[in-house]
Symmetry: D2
Subunit: 300 residues, 4 copies
């Protein structure tokens, strides 16, 4: 593989130097959009994309994602944040403003199976996954060579149920050092502690190798084979402390038939897993996902 295309990255940053995203969640009421768009217009911003969702126009919840261009964004960014606070307070908003040119720092956790990691590395190399791949952490050595050949730091941190807390202490150290925004579990086969999950709330994406809620837990392909299903699937979701019960981001399926044994299902499943995980990660990086009551709103 060729090394990462620094030129494309600079092009992306340059192209998006004046672009920002505003994500908002608040109780619904008339006038929210009017107030926000007036605010942006008064700050010389031009809205280039907007997605809105209301759970119920009568007393429900309001969600919006806005993308806008604003000349001299870098200089004005903090002032925009300050100026928006009164509006946010008035409407009781959860909100986040992000500059598109600032790439998120991503850490990937992986165990032995490399296919999901490989897909993310590939997308990243071809500039389809816009992030800083800051670090890869594994409880095995298998993928070290592949990761380091791309110039990405690789840490081998052994982990199992007996040394979970020591391992996580080390994980946190590494994540902090790399100022990590997002943790991706690319077929990482260890359980995370509630403390760890809480510290990355809605910022840990897992890929589960079944069509949830079918086959929650271990050995989903074996159980799919036993049941004689005609389709297998994969599910990407944010991690919570209920195993495989976190907010679902994306799912997809593939056909199988009576000739497919467990090993065939695993191969067919790998292709599904890698694309389902990659889509979820890209949507997160593009600030397209809002979480509400254990469900996701994906503005795709």
């Amino acid at each position: 593989m060729t090394s990462y295309n620094e030129e494309k990255l600079q092009h992306y940053k340059e192209k998006n130097k004046n672009r920002a995203r505003l994500l908002i969640h608040c109780p619904d009421q008339p006038g929210i959009i009017s107030r926000i768009s007036e605010f942006l217009f008064s700050h010389d911003a031009n809205i280039v994309a907007s997605h809105q969702y209301s759970t119920d126009p009568e007393g429900g919840e309001f969600f919006i994602r806005l993308e806008f261009d604003c000349p001299e964004l870098e200089a004005k960014f903090e002032q925009i944040e300050v100026d928006f606070q009164p509006i946010a307070a008035e409407f009781n908003m959860d909100w986040k403003l992000t500059a598109v040119r600032e790439l998120k720092n991503v850490a990937i956790f992986v165990s032995k199976q490399p296919h999901c990691l490989l897909e993310l590395l590939w997308e990243w190399q071809s500039s389809d996954l816009m992030a800083n791949l800051a670090v890869v952490i594994s409880n095995h050595e298998d993928t070290r060579e592949m990761v380091e050949s791309l110039g990405i730091p690789f840490y081998h941190v052994p982990s199992n149920k007996d040394i979970r807390h020591e391992a996580e202490a080390r994980h946190k150290e590494i994540l902090d050092e790399h100022d990590t925004d997002l943790v991706v579990l690319a077929r990482y086969m260890q359980i995370l502690t509630p403390e760890f999950v809480e510290s990355y709330r809605n910022r840990i994406i897992n890929i589960h190798h079944s069509f949830l809620p079918a086959f929650v837990g271990a050995r989903p392909y074996e159980r799919a084979y036993e049941r004689g299903v005609k389709m297998i699937g994969a599910t990407s979701h944010y991690v919570t402390n209920d195993l495989d019960e976190g907010p679902i981001i994306e799912q997809d399926i593939g056909r199988v038939d009576h000739r497919d044994h467990v090993e065939d299902m695993k191969k067919i499943g790998q292709t599904i897993e890698r694309s389902v995980l990659a889509r979820a990660v890209k949507w997160h990086l593009a600030d397209r996902i809002l979480v509400h009551q254990n469900k996701t709103i994906v503005f795709s």
Copy 2:
């Protein structure tokens, strides 16, 4: 089949009595959304859904679809239209305001094959296609019984290339009489004249039984079979005077293999045709489609 569910229809109208849709196309510039949303807020309207698309933030085209609730809409509707005109003029807008409770009048043209007509009748009966099915026109008698059993007027208007103009004169008479908003060609096998097409510009939806631009013209399944394709498709599009070249609304495909002869392809294709046409018609009825430079913007 049971007769059309009048109760559901009334429920729909009641539920949507204060809901309207605003579709806008204009040159892009900062401040459009701010101006529109301020206008709606000042008229006590609450935006419940919005979709926006800009071809290019720098000097491109701007498209938006807004759905909003406004108390006492019926009484205020005309005033809102009047009040919006200065804004429309200022931004050089093409625009349209529609009241959701006012169903569009739809005429369906069909020849011998009934499957697309049947799908539309079915969707309409089960209240999934919200329209007044005003009339069915055919150059054959085959579907009369089915149509009239549902209480829908059926007109047999013979047509072929020698009597095209007489036939169309009669078509126009019928369409005018039923105040027709949309013409659906549900496998209608006659060519329309440029005058007719012009008088229903972007208001005639056709289903073509191929994955356009593959197999433009006659006998697409025969040609697909000859070519040995592994997938066949269907395309719904607005009719223009270039045969099968109008703006594409929706497409879908199905798999075929070496065992499928032309007759098998036709059967597989029928299922695709009927769903692709139904989706296009529903999107049109819900004011989800904008046309620009022979392409559609579908806010689905």
Copy 3:
């Protein structure tokens, strides 16, 4: 709708008057195909399609479906059956020989929701579902008109848990009277007793409105909505005495997103249910399905 196309039916019977199907399941060993094909050749039969599946060449199970043409089939049919018995005994075969021109008698059970029944009636009317639709049985009156308008007998047999046995006694009476080969539960919302299920072993096809094994049991769309899945599905399966645990025949899925409420999911689901059930019924009618250890082998 036009009445059933008697002409097409006669054409089908005429075209297939010399065609038969042979389904076999036995322990695998070398020489089975040689023996069968030699037998057929010696009876002047020409194999026109064959599908084979072996669970494991070493001591596994062997399954085959053969379609063959044999001149004067009607006259020879019984002799072929007699002559095949020694081979069947030698290889310890479960087997079945069917004449393609003899249509199976089908009974459809339905409750209030008509969409699956409608799909089957439609396919039957357009000669895509080759069967005698012998009778429709319902615990409600809703679909009587639709069924009787096509000349199919309709029986209203009230049923609930208190009168289950009386209802089933009546069901059996009706099924026997129509010499029923296959029972299709087209959204029939009553539980069947073990005795009834046993008497139609692998001859009752149900449609479950979820992607099994997700959402076994009641209210699957409500539970899919609660869980926030991004896809919903439907599953057709043979009925056993374990609720929703019988051999799966076919599954399919459709995409949903955060905007889809339970009612939207139900509508999207209806389209999936009707096609998944229709495919399963057609495969059964064409003797394409073998059952082994609670799984299906579908030679599609």
Copy 4:
């Protein structure tokens, strides 16, 4: 990436040491299957999979693919070939017998875009593509590092219309040297001469970046964008001397919408291209494809 899993390869060869495949095409007549299966049984072979297709039972063409296990296959292979010749002659067969353990030698041609090459390398590395990747030939240097890092010979052979014959002379030299069975054009952007194509008849697989026959020729994504299609596709086919007109092996599609510009379509298309090409190559390697009258019969 880790180096190729030699252990898995040996396991595959050992596991399949007694397995062979027999592909046959001949005029249809009764008794063919009987004759073949009797022959195999008399050679102690056990048929483990069979696929048959007849264009028309009355005077059509007959195609079959058989997979069988035969003890001591290596020792008996040539004798089986010799013994089968009289049968082949009697039925006027085109036929081919292959030993599964003998991997085919594959040459990949690529230009600048690496995604299809990468997919094939990936599948090969993970032992999902059972072949000897003998050599990669390119008219550019871009992919050399990636290829050589896996221990595969890479040849840079400049080519353009002025030096086509010199280039192809060099190509043939390299292909002969590696005893090449199959040439895969993994986005190779040069035209091949009729002589070259003829010398690898039905053994050159190309990936075309459109849903053929839509957008034959150059710049398909640009033309798809211009036309405003809602789906884009890719097609793998055997190369003939009619550009993009060879027998289609596999096709697939992906959805696009009004927001997708040419660059977006290319990215979406890459994912489709790589999977469509990989499937075609795997089917060819598994002897699953027969060609008849510019169409493929794929026994998948």
